[in-house]
Assembly symmetry: C2
Homo-oligomer: 475 residues x 2
């Protein structure tokens, strides 16, 4: 069931007003990672409430407690905004998630415009922090409700909003709240739609049905009681850095293969249906080269590269804590160094089945070094991978909506990074979760000069609205 023409034409007719509304949202610097901006994050919650309530949405600002600061003081966490619109038992109830906080942004980071003033260019790109991540999508949902309420159109589904203000800072408090409200606020939900990721390029819409998990490790190698001078002690004692670098060199090859025995056996086998998806996804290796700004893709084989990103694990070496990291030359033998690396997990890898393999392998390799340094390996944090069933009615509805709005079949993709709340919704609520992106791969979320194309904002608003109609009738 396509959305009514009145809805589509309202969106087109109110383009300027919707851009102005996004501008109001961007103007509130709701940077969750900066304590000095915490009042702005909280102000953003009130701003959303002030938009939703006049539209008849029942809004609750859910207090999720305090955040402990490194200096010992406490800051109030911004509330999770719960919204309820409709409770018709004959309709499906769709849970919509978005976040209203943003990444930090300073003009001095290299922005061409003030990051907190939404600034359009001639091509209709709307520059500003949060434009695409995630205020554009959030405001789009509000625009959709407005289009219905103002024109007296009945919404095809009941809506539950769950809008958080700490997504960019670890989603503190959210998991507990979902667990607590599982049989309360969330009880009636039938499916979840999250609009907080991106197309893989600037051409083709996609739906995302999986994200990788992660296990983040540190290898701690210790030797002397304090840092030593390499002139006095070089070639005299075992040096922790030598041992650590050797261990870290045994983790992954330059072509990306993980060297830890047994990990490959944990990876779910590739089905023919899944393999076909990677062959047909509209994504060229040159898209990756453009995104990273260099010709450094691991292979000329497109499915190999896409599977490396979406359905195979990866291991990255992030850095070393405790060693010399400044510019210039310091002749130190560091006493205690911590090598940091992480493994992106895919089905059926879990921290529980991966950790023992990692720890055993590194301990065995360390023993071969015959060093007098000491070793400790820790999993600092991580999370499971998430994969949804892309044949679920939630996805089929989104595919149909995409075809109606963009006249194009969306690619079915899996993402490399983690969105932890996805997993919580799937596991705790037991619902199918759809990631339905609005922005493009080159939007620069988390980067300088973040933008959202007016085209994606307006057509994306139509897409999200149309999705509600399709989800109402797809089974």
């Amino acid at each position: 069931m396509p959305a009514p023409a009145k809805f589509i034409s309202y969106i087109d007719a109110h383009k300027d007003a919707f851009i102005a509304r996004l501008g109001e949202a961007v103007a509130i610097p709701s940077v969750s990672g900066d304590p000095s901006h915490r009042p702005d994050v909280i102000k953003m919650a009130s701003y959303i409430k002030s938009l939703l309530e006049p539209l008849g949405v029942k809004v609750e600002l859910k207090d999720v407690g305090m955040e402990k600061q490194p200096d010992g003081t406490e800051l109030p966490l911004p509330p999770v905004v719960f919204g309820t619109l409709g409770a018709d038992p004959k309709k499906k109830t769709v849970l919509l998630y978005a976040h209203y906080d943003v990444q930090p942004a300073l003009v001095s980071d290299g922005w061409n415009t003030d990051p907190f003033t939404l600034t359009p260019d001639k091509e209709g790109r709307l520059f500003g922090r949060g434009s695409t991540d995630d205020k554009g999508p959030l405001i789009a949902w509000i625009n959709i409700v407005e289009a219905h309420v103002k024109q007296g159109i009945e919404l095809p589904v009941n809506i539950k909003f769950c809008l958080e203000g700490m997504e960019e800072s670890g989603s503190e408090g959210l998991d507990d709240l979902i667990e607590k409200e599982k049989d309360g606020f969330f009880k009636s939900c039938d499916c979840v739609c999250i609009c907080d990721n991106y197309w893989m390029n600037d051409r083709t819409p996609c739906l995302t049905y999986g994200v990788r998990g992660m296990s983040y490790y540190r290898i701690i190698v210790s030797g002397p009681a304090r840092d030593l001078h390499s002139g006095l002690f070089g070639n005299t004692v075992h040096e922790p850095m030598t041992d650590l670098i050797l261990l870290m060199s045994k983790l992954v090859t330059p072509s990306g293969e993980i060297m830890i025995p047994g990990l490959d056996k944990l990876v779910a086998p590739l089905t023919d249906a899944e393999k076909k998806r990677y062959e047909t996804i509209d994504f060229a290796l040159s898209d990756i080269e453009e995104q990273v700004g260099a010709k450094i893709v691991l292979s000329d084989d497109k499915p190999r590269v896409l599977m490396g990103r979406m359905r195979n694990p990866s291991l990255s070496l992030h850095g070393i804590e405790g060693a010399f990291y400044g510019p210039g030359a310091k002749t130190v033998i560091p006493a205690k160094v911590q090598g940091k690396f992480s493994i992106r997990l895919v089905p059926n890898m879990t921290p529980e089945n991966v950790d023992p393999l990692v720890i055993k392998y590194l301990s065995d390799e360390f023993a071969k070094l015959k060093t007098k340094s000491t070793l400790k390996i820790e999993n600092i944090h991580g999370g499971k991978a998430w994969v949804a069933d892309p044949d679920h009615w939630n996805f089929r509805a989104a595919i149909k909506a995409t075809e109606e709005v963009y006249k194009k079949k969306p690619d079915l993709t899996r993402e490399g990074g983690s969105i932890p709340v996805t997993l919580t919704f799937a596991d705790v609520l037991g619902l199918n979760v759809l990631l339905l992106p609005m922005g493009r791969g080159d939007d620069g979320a988390h980067s300088t000069n973040e933008k959202l194309d007016t085209y994606n904002y307006i057509e994306g608003t139509k897409l999200l609205g149309t999705y509600l109609y399709e989800v109402a009738v797809t089974n």
Copy 2:
């Protein structure tokens, strides 16, 4: 010729006054590495002048120009203090070097007492920044001159002082000044004595006849145009950290052997006479374990360990610039990383014959990685090794003086670290340079709670004075 009894008894009689004078020197926080303390460094030069001039020493404060700061501004360099006492053509002229600047020190670093208040404990240890490095030795020379002048004893040699205020910060300006004054102030010098290092333990005096040189390298590996998110790009692109860690793992084994082919052939062969010295040096492996606070020596073979420190090269991995170095977990794929390592050079290694071997080896190993990252290798800075002839009259005089004062034969040692001015005196002036230490191996120069034992200060003052008498008559 032992020193006259009147000299020795004056030193003993004035112990308290000499400690008080060292206290005055320590109270001036002449930290050369901290721009805000630059006036104190310059004040220290005036303080030295005010002590030397009344004793008849002709003092010149040699301006060595300005120091460029990282922010573009300029700071005046502290002057090099030139002092001349005696010009008797029948006497030898001894060049005495010391430095009057010190390392930084804050109580918050872990000092038990105020670092700039010389504080004795019950065992006669004098705690304070610069007590052993290098204000103790510097004030000792002044005490020696005073003992002669006040008692009307004629000095057995002519003395030239060269006292600098930038030793802890790269000795800026000194090399140029020595080159310039080679046929001026330094023309008449016959030998050099530097009192700026330490016994190897807390028991046995030593003379030092060699120090290792150094070549400090950075390996720069670059890939993407900017840092990437490991979730999005892990197992998709070549990662510079993977390549760098693999390269760094090919440099040195856990037991300290350098893996760069050809370097071992540059090391001067071991003579029987030299080998014997390592066997007889009063130094136990437990001394090293005590110094580093852990049982991590590379071998149970004492000569192997001593040679590793004194006469063989070493390679230490110092750290990585550009990677994640903080606490916690950051899921970054760094775009450009710089691995820092240095090689301590021994005769007959030089930066000129070592650099090509290092660069060729690393380039060859990098090619084997088959990565699309790019590589650059740079020698950031370095200096040659220095070895003096320990059979020269300068050393024989110091050996005799040590036996007279300490009733013990000094060990003949070589040091692991570099003292660049040693090489300049040897190369530019063509003189034999003796390193005649005052303090003990556990004094903690550059560390918290730096100290000088009263015993070493007073007996060391006698030693330096006696050395002048022995050097006058040894040929």
